[in-house]
């Protein structure tokens, strides 16, 4: 029996597979690995209103690994930000659902991302700006593990504790793989939790493909981060939830046939029953 959040995660996986199926390709691996985090955020953690995406007091999410847009679009559609049918327009000419997140195109997207590292700073800026206005809203940031090779991430990692951004919770999707191979072989970021700890962050490290554990970790962070920003390292599997994608070594960007997508969707639907 799946928990409610696990069910929601499976629904998000099904919806994103419909997106990839309609277009025939996409950043499938990293979208799947962060899906459980999105289920936790939109299923339980975040304060938001799909009828009023620009609500001033809402919590914000910055998907700094912007290529995971399709996972976020599926989540937003399931929560009613826009019709499910729109998911089939992913990366079609003139779409409102581009490969990388765009806050000016898609209802519910809080920040435009795509050039890796930049969402780190814009998320910190949102947190600082909300604090300056005494707003009771939090900012959530999702970084990639490969993305953490960018220097800008570490500029922000110094900045956020200095400015006591305790309304700020970051996740690092540690799916161990990047476009050209294994992160450890290309430019190792480990021990990534110790690095953030040393930079002055309240740091946790958990199974990032379990949405219930993610909720627990966020509650822990909120209760214990004090005046620090929080970093939750999510140990995940790139392609999580779809076996064939998990088992494809270079699974950052994949082609998918309608037949394969249907098979993945059928397997996911079976999990719901």
């Amino acid at each position: 029996m799946q928990s409610q959040l696990k069910k929601f995660a499976t629904e998000i996986r099904i919806a994103q597979m419909e997106e990839f199926k309609a277009r025939g390709f996409g950043h499938i691996g990293g979208a799947l690995s962060i899906t459980d985090c999105l289920a936790a955020l939109y299923g339980e953690i975040m304060k938001y209103d799909p009828k009023n995406p620009q609500w001033e007091d809402r919590d914000r999410l910055v998907m700094s690994k912007g290529h995971a847009g399709p996972a976020l679009y599926a989540t937003l559609a399931l929560k009613g930000y826009f019709p499910m049918e729109m998911l089939k327009t992913l990366n079609q000419n003139g779409t409102h659902l581009p490969s990388h997140c765009d806050k000016n195109l898609t209802p519910g997207i809080d920040m435009t991302t795509g050039s890796l590292g930049q969402g780190a700073s814009t998320a910190a800026g949102l947190a600082l700006g909300l604090k300056a206005q005494k707003k009771d809203a939090r900012v959530y940031l999702i970084l990639g593990d490969g993305e953490s090779q960018e220097g800008q991430v570490w500029e922000m990692a110094l900045f956020a504790p200095q400015h006591k951004l305790n309304n700020f919770i970051a996740f690092l999707d540690n799916n161990k793989r990047q476009l050209d191979g294994y992160t450890a072989d290309i430019c190792n970021i480990e021990p990534i939790d110790e690095k953030f700890k040393a930079f002055g962050w309240y740091t946790l490290r958990i199974d990032g493909n379990d949405p219930d554990k993610i909720v627990e970790a966020v509650n822990d962070a909120k209760a214990n981060q004090g005046d620090k920003p929080a970093m939750i390292i999510l140990d995940t599997v790139k392609g999580a939830g779809v076996k064939a994608v998990e088992e494809t070594k270079l699974n950052h960007h994949l082609n998918v046939t309608a037949e394969d997508a249907d098979a993945y969707i059928a397997a996911l639907k079976a999990e719901l029953e």
Partner: protein, 320 residues
């Protein structure tokens, strides 16, 4: 309305002092205005403001890229950010952040680059931005301004934080030659005709405006009637004004304190080439790197002088 008070003399106040006083006024008058710097507050007259305005004055430390990204995020949270660093870093170092997190994302941030062109003087080639105008001109929907003097700086800065998208402003920290009265006001996108004329139109920006006025005085002694137009707002370019004066004079000189590649000269040339081919000469850095030296030495070395403007004016008139 602006009033030209040019008589060749320098302003009493240094640009950095005017900048500091203006930022203070801006954060005082509007709690949404937030000023960020990357460890150069003590060089630009804003040092100490953080004590009175802790939520609105943000010292980022030496991390320009993060600073611009944070500013973009603050804009998305409803603030009105203005950030400063030296022009070399405000252009080259943060270009992707300015392009994507600010301009493309439609966040509203004013980026101030100080020590425009040869004004970087003793900081030398590493700190001497000749390319900033070119870079920011290539960003769609951006506003690009080369400030003429401190009177203009104090007048326009509070207006720029109301702009949409990316605004890049290059300023001088030292005492500029006074061009405008302190009560002058300016309209973005509008060039200022400082001196009317019919033989040659000199379109100048920033440091070169006063040199162009001086050149026009020299040319007048030789019976040449030169118009001088301050193109302080390089983007959006006042195309109507450029076309009007190119047509009226039939010869054009541009004068700028930066690389002519992609700069003011290029902007005017592109417009005229497509619409009204006119003999033109571009005074500016002719695709070279900067170096250390006094401003006078650098002006002579790169040809950023009234004498050079006058010489090019005569050559261009001869090509009519």
């Amino acid at each position: 309305m602006f009033k030209c008070i040019y008589n060749g003399e320098k302003e009493k106040a240094a640009g950095k002092n005017v900048f500091g006083a203006t930022i203070k006024k801006m954060v005082h008058n509007d709690s949404k205005v937030v000023y960020m710097d990357a460890d150069l507050m003590n060089s630009i007259g804003t040092f100490g403001l953080e004590k009175d305005y802790p939520d609105q004055i943000v010292e980022a430390g030496i991390q320009e890229a993060n600073m611009v990204g944070v500013a973009a995020g603050m804009s998305a949270a409803g603030m009105k950010p203005i950030v400063h660093t030296f022009g070399s870093f405000a252009g080259r170092r943060v270009f992707d952040q300015a392009f994507m997190s600010v301009a493309y994302a439609k966040n509203n941030v004013v980026i101030v680059g100080s020590d425009s062109g040869i004004n970087a003087a003793y900081n030398g080639g590493t700190h001497m931005p000749f390319e900033d105008i070119c870079l920011y001109r290539a960003v769609p929907e951006a506003t690009v301004i080369d400030v003429t003097d401190s009177a203009m700086l104090a007048s326009i800065l509070p207006e720029l934080v109301e702009n949409k998208g990316l605004t890049y402003v290059r300023i001088c920290r030292k005492n500029c030659v006074a061009v405008y009265s302190e009560d002058s006001t300016f309209e973005q996108g509008k060039a200022n005709v400082l001196r009317d004329g019919k033989d040659v139109a000199i379109f100048a920006a920033g440091y070169m405006v006063s040199e162009a006025l001086k050149a026009a005085e020299e040319l007048a002694k030789e019976g040449i009637d030169a118009a001088v137009i301050d193109m302080w707002c390089i983007k959006p370019l006042d195309e109507a004004c450029v076309l009007e004066y190119a047509k009226k004079c039939g010869a054009v000189v541009t004068a700028e304190n930066g690389n002519v590649v992609g700069g003011l000269g290029a902007a005017v040339s592109e417009l005229l080439g497509e619409n009204l081919p006119t003999p033109i000469s571009m005074v500016g850095i002719r695709d070279r790197f900067g170096q250390v030296g006094t401003v006078d030495f650098l002006a002579e070395t790169y040809g950023l002088t009234a004498a050079k403007v006058a010489e090019e004016a005569k050559k261009t008139i001869a090509r009519k």
